[in-house]
């Protein structure tokens, strides 16, 4: 499985889509946007902090495992750090796979695993 992981301080730009195989039947994309309401509080944005070297390593291992489990073709994963204003994306994921089921499961699992132990933190200010 082809895995691309990017941590960036800049605004996320959706990468151009390259369909490398005539056997890709499903493209699943996810964007996580910063929301205004976090609990009771109205925010202007969130500040993300990462330990990028470790985050890359831990995340890559998860994505490789999920690739084995679900059998997808490729994943592009972008996480923004620093200040992210409300309405902008902190996270972008694109999964290419033969069928939708495996792409959707890969996507859901990859976000669950991101939130499990990948060293990235957000704070309100």
């Amino acid at each position: 499985m082809k895995i691309t992981i990017v941590f960036t301080e800049e605004g996320i730009v959706v990468p151009e889509m390259v369909i490398g195989s005539r056997e890709i039947g499903a493209v699943v994309e996810f964007q996580g946007l910063v929301r205004e309401m976090e609990g009771e509080e109205a925010l202007d944005g969130l500040f993300y902090e990462a330990y990028p070297e470790m985050a890359e390593k831990v995340l890559r291992r998860h994505l490789e495992e999920l690739g084995e489990i679900h059998g997808c073709e490729s994943v592009e994963f972008i996480h923004r750090s620093g200040w992210v204003p409300v309405g902008e994306a902190s996270l972008y994921i694109r999964v290419l796979s033969a069928h939708r089921g495996e792409g959707l499961r890969f996507l859901a699992d990859s976000i669950d695993r991101l939130k499990q132990d990948v060293p990235i933190w957000k704070r309100v200010s």
Binding site: Y48, S90, L114, I120
Partner: protein, 93 residues
């Protein structure tokens, strides 16, 4: 290196001191009072011992420790690791 058992390993390690980079992330920065710091560490010292030495009384429950970008055990010797990181519960995404 010719090592035959844990005791030999301890002897070998005892002789070695590393300069280690410590990294504290997120809330740990406040708890530790630094975000980055260099410190001399014996190969036999455990992360828990190191923390007790540099921030006496510090409670590390809920915090994970990593050595060279891998999750590590608070109670295993740091060995040759060059970087130790203190990781409060993550919240990416």
């Amino acid at each position: 290196m010719d090592v035959r058992g844990l005791e030999d390993l301890a002897v070998v390690y005892e002789l070695r001191w590393n300069v280690m980079k410590l990294l504290a992330f997120a809330k740990s920065k406040d708890d530790f009072g630094f975000s980055e710091k260099e410190i001399e560490v014996a190969a036999t010292e455990t992360p828990r011992e190191l923390v007790a030495r540099i921030v006496p009384g510090m409670d590390v429950s809920g915090i994970r420790v990593a050595l060279d970008c891998e999750f590590a055990d608070w109670d295993a010797p740091v060995g040759d690791a060059k970087e130790m990181a203190f990781l409060p519960p993550v919240s990416g995404g």
